[in-house]
Amino acid sequence: MPLILIHSPKGGVGSTFLTAQIAMHLSARGHQVTAIDFTYQDSLKLHFGMLPNQALVEMSFGGGETMMVSGVDLMTGHALSRTPEFAEAIRLADAPLFDPARITIADVSADDRILKGQLLAHADLHLCTLLPRPASLATLPQVEPGTPVTELTKTMFLLNQLDDRHRLSRHTHSFIRELTRDRLMGSVRRDEAVNEALAMFEPLTKFAPSSVVIPDMTRIAAAIEERLGLVETADQPEVVRS
């Protein structure tokens, strides 16, 4: 089963939020999903409704505990990713780092470029989040240094926090769509309910089931399935669990 790497060269663009949403939506569509928080911030769990003082289980070699939240096997891999054993396993690529029976989604910090490079070598799909803001767009050349954006093969883009009321947001959407062509996997509209759900320690699907973000994420999950060949037909009835 595939490894999906979620990493953007710019922090604060919503990559962790999208990791959680993609994991929950793919799980709701019948897939076995593991989401691994490789960041020091340890904030992926908040998007699943967990509290800051609730600890995730540690990723480990060959088994260990599991923690299922909202249908997703959730763990932290930050400590393990700092060990020589992890680097060796990545280098040899023969250790069962990730469960072959599950879709694994890895959330990696913007500045953790070494880990990003290590995981990219094994990833089937790299999702790069962008915001319709200049500081985010200006990091496009750093998505994969040495390879022009227009020549990336594993990388697809997600445009987050779109707001059609603002001119730059509308124009950025058009620009990125033209620049990346079929590598723009989808866009997500901005909704304050995302922050409110976090503040309530509730998954978005439970706190704001009518949020515009949910149909946007449904389309993105379907596009990921299609891209990775996970389903024969992309259109399936969907029930998002909360």
Binding site: P134, L137, A138, L140, P141, P145, P148, V149, T150, E151, D164, R165, R167, L168, R170, H171, S174, F175, E178, L179, R181
Partner: protein, 111 residues
């Protein structure tokens, strides 16, 4: 409010929707300088096209900083005066839609 929008809202019986009519057609895309900078960046497009000039940057040995004369304090301008000056200056650059479209088309052909 456009009549067709008014009719639609009445049919939906929704009083809580905000209505906004955009000055620019939705499909239009202005050539903001940030877009132009990316389109002329070889690391983005794989094409060496240097058309946009960035800020003038001077690189000097570190010691030169000590020799830099200290600029005399200028009389303080009223707060926010800079915004008045900007308003009186040229309007922001508008959209050179044709150029960007053709550039993107060329990029697409190359791919």
């Amino acid at each position: 409010m456009r009549q067709d929008a008014r009719n639609l809202l009445e049919r939906l019986s929704r009083k809580d929707f905000k209505y906004q009519q955009f000055a620019d057609p939705y499909a239009d895309m202005e050539l903001w300088p940030i877009f132009q900078a990316l389109l002329t960046d070889e690391r983005v497009t794989g094409t060496d096209t240097r058309e946009l000039r960035g800020a003038e940057v001077q690189i000097r040995p570190r010691d030169d900083r000590q020799e830099k004369p200290v600029e005399a304090a200028r009389p303080r301008a009223p707060l926010f005066e800079r915004y008045n000056q900007r308003a009186a200056a040229q309007p922001p650059r508008g959209g050179d839609v044709v150029n960007m479209r053709s550039f993107l088309d060329r990029l697409s052909d190359k791919n």
